[in-house]
Subunit: 388 residues, 2 copies
């Protein structure tokens, strides 16, 4: 294992529990060759891990994240702060770290330690910015696979991913058939459809329209914060569902003493909530990373792996798959979950081994972060059965 | 009648069929007093009309528009270009101009001839811009009422409005009980809920974040076009439904020869469609008008007329009401249509006189502009019955 302190993006939230591996090119060649032809001569992959690796390496669960989280999915002794999926991962929890060796990867192209647009390009000594090659979901999966090779792990018990992470999990199972026993895809899709493409395209255009973006060449402390805040707000609108906001905020107003009197200032509590969350986000995520990862989600299409979505899905060979959708998800709606299920079933390689659970929740695309009481037992039962 | 050539916003699409009335203050007083306390000393209201006014003035239909259209709802001899509701209004059509005298009003605060932020403030000789007083849906209804007073019409056969126009129609019926026989509200609401508030708030913030906005003081030919385009795109996303875009665009790409190669350029047909429509819009709508009208929709709440939505609705006294909703409308969803229906039914003044039609369409909030085959017969039957 080749751990390093070579942080790609030192400003970001990278905790003491984060580990790093420098990859040595593309399985022995000098470059990591990307899905759309770009090359990276040096890659660092940041990750966290929990639980002990079994002697025969048969207990590894690999987790890919959504667009914005880092690798800190759960707390640990090294970093006791709650992770983004803390209710799910830990000793005795649904993803039981007494049983499994769990690894969560910071996506290639992100900004929490893995190589991305903010990292130094060895060829120039400067940050890549828009010289970072075209990034795809397939590349993120491949960087995760490289990491495992470096760690001496040649087989996964389970690959798991929510949202973008679910796309990466699908891409992983597609690209490395026979190397994954179980697959869990949560609120993901085989490809994005126009409403979702439009929502993400708008977020990217909002960032690009911020003069501070400067074609990606913004100064470290003069990032396109205004554009990022607006993009994040629009993202949040798409991650949540109308009914939950109705129940939480209705038409409540921000208290008069919290208003500035500026023209067209924010006035409703829902606006204030978005503003608070956007401002928390913008100083801890790189704008160019956001653009690259967002576009990677738009580009992903299982049909690229076989001419059609269904023939692509036939390339996935796992013992069993768990597909979870949420009734109120407008970004990757239940129909798109059922499409994965039907495709895997049709594939035949996986007969009677696709489990579909549709969570009835008002929390939309973000339900996997919120509805612990619904997601925990589903995950626990699935993983328990794999151990029987 | 006091027609005038005093165009408030000469750059805009104001056709030869547009008529203008200068209001003489607030029913005899010197100022038009607005719902939130502001005052306008001089108001022009632009409108178009079709069909003959009956001798006893009992055949008048007043139409209020959505946020962005002008008063050109239908073609006429003076302006044969199709109006925004051309399939609905005309001789022998559902809103039959052989029977009715139809008037469509350009909303107060808009930019197609009626007084708005772009109009000249008589007190300063300069455009109002952000000195335009706080605008509400109630004010838009009142300006329509003033217009009728000027035209010598003291009673409406029917008030009709889709989208924002439906809110205005509700406000009209609320404010002038006994002066309206029939009410038609299409894809409107008694008040906006948080998802819709957020979508509109974001549009306004995107415009305000464009440096070209300059706190509303942009030069005539240097308007915040970039912000307006992004806001319009976001608006369009909320006006349409995911399934229709899926059927129309799927994941089709823009042809290579239409691409520029710029980083993160638009690539999918859905992005190109939004871009085309946004660019058509931005040079024909005033950014400050957009802000005022958008906020007016957020502010509108029937509960302001009686302490609660239901007690507000009891103030509406009409012979019959037609409420139309669309299954896939995410902006003003069917639940909000049924809320109007139940409220009017509970009001008791209107027993067995509320008709609700839920249009099963994939065209979302914009269905009233598209699904002529579904909307036409519903409107025709309703209006025919009022004449029996």
């Amino acid at each position: 294992m080749n751990l390093t302190e070579n942080l790609a993006g030192t400003k970001r939230t990278i905790t003491r529990a984060t580990q790093f591996v420098n990859l040595k090119g593309d399985y022995g060649t000098s470059d990591f060759v990307m899905w759309r032809g770009g090359r990276l001569s040096k890659i660092t992959v940041a990750f966290e891990s929990w639980g002990k690796l079994s002697s025969n390496h048969d207990n590894v669960i690999l987790i890919f994240t959504g667009l914005s989280p880092n690798a800190h999915a759960a707390s640990s002794e090294l970093d006791p702060t709650p992770g983004w999926w803390d209710y799910m991962i830990g000793p005795g929890k649904s993803i039981d770290t007494n049983v499994f060796h769990v690894i969560c990867v910071n996506s290639l192209g992100s900004c929490f330690g893995s190589t991305g647009p903010e990292a130094i390009n060895p060829a120039t000594g400067k940050a890549y910015r828009l010289d970072f090659p075209d990034l795809t979901i397939e590349d993120i999966a491949k960087a995760g696979h490289h990491l495992l090779v470096e760690l001496g792990i040649d087989h996964l018990h389970t690959v798991i991913g929510p949202s973008m992470g679910g796309m990466v999990a699908l891409a992983y199972a597609l690209q490395y058939p026979g190397e994954v026993d179980y697959l869990v895809s949560i609120s993901a899709a085989t490809r994005a459809l126009p409403f979702t493409l439009a929502m993400r395209s708008l977020q990217r255009e909002i960032i690009r329209s911020d003069p501070a973006w400067k074609d990606g060449n913004y100064a470290e402390d003069e990032a396109p914060y205004s554009g990022m805040a607006l993009a994040r707000k629009l993202g949040l609108v798409s991650y949540r569902a109308a009914e939950e906001w109705h129940q939480r905020f209705d038409r409540s107003r921000v208290a008069k003493d919290r208003r500035t009197g500026a023209p067209f200032e924010l006035e409703f509590e829902v606006e204030s909530y978005l503003d608070y969350n956007a401002k928390k986000f913008i100083h801890n995520f790189d704008a160019n990373s956001y653009l690259y990862l967002s576009r990677a989600m738009d580009w992903f299409d299982v049909a690229d792996h076989g001419g059609s979505v269904n023939s692509g899905l036939t390339k996935i060979h796992v013992k069993k798959a768990l597909i979870i959708g949420v009734t109120t998800d407008i970004l990757f709606p239940p129909e798109q979950q059922r499409e994965i299920v039907k495709g895997l079933e049709k594939a035949g390689s996986c007969e009677e081994c696709v489990e579909y659970v549709e969570i009835d929740s008002i929390n939309g695309h973000d339900a996997f972060l919120v509805d612990s009481h619904q997601f925990s037992p589903v995950m626990k039962q699935f993983l328990d059965e794999t151990c029987q």
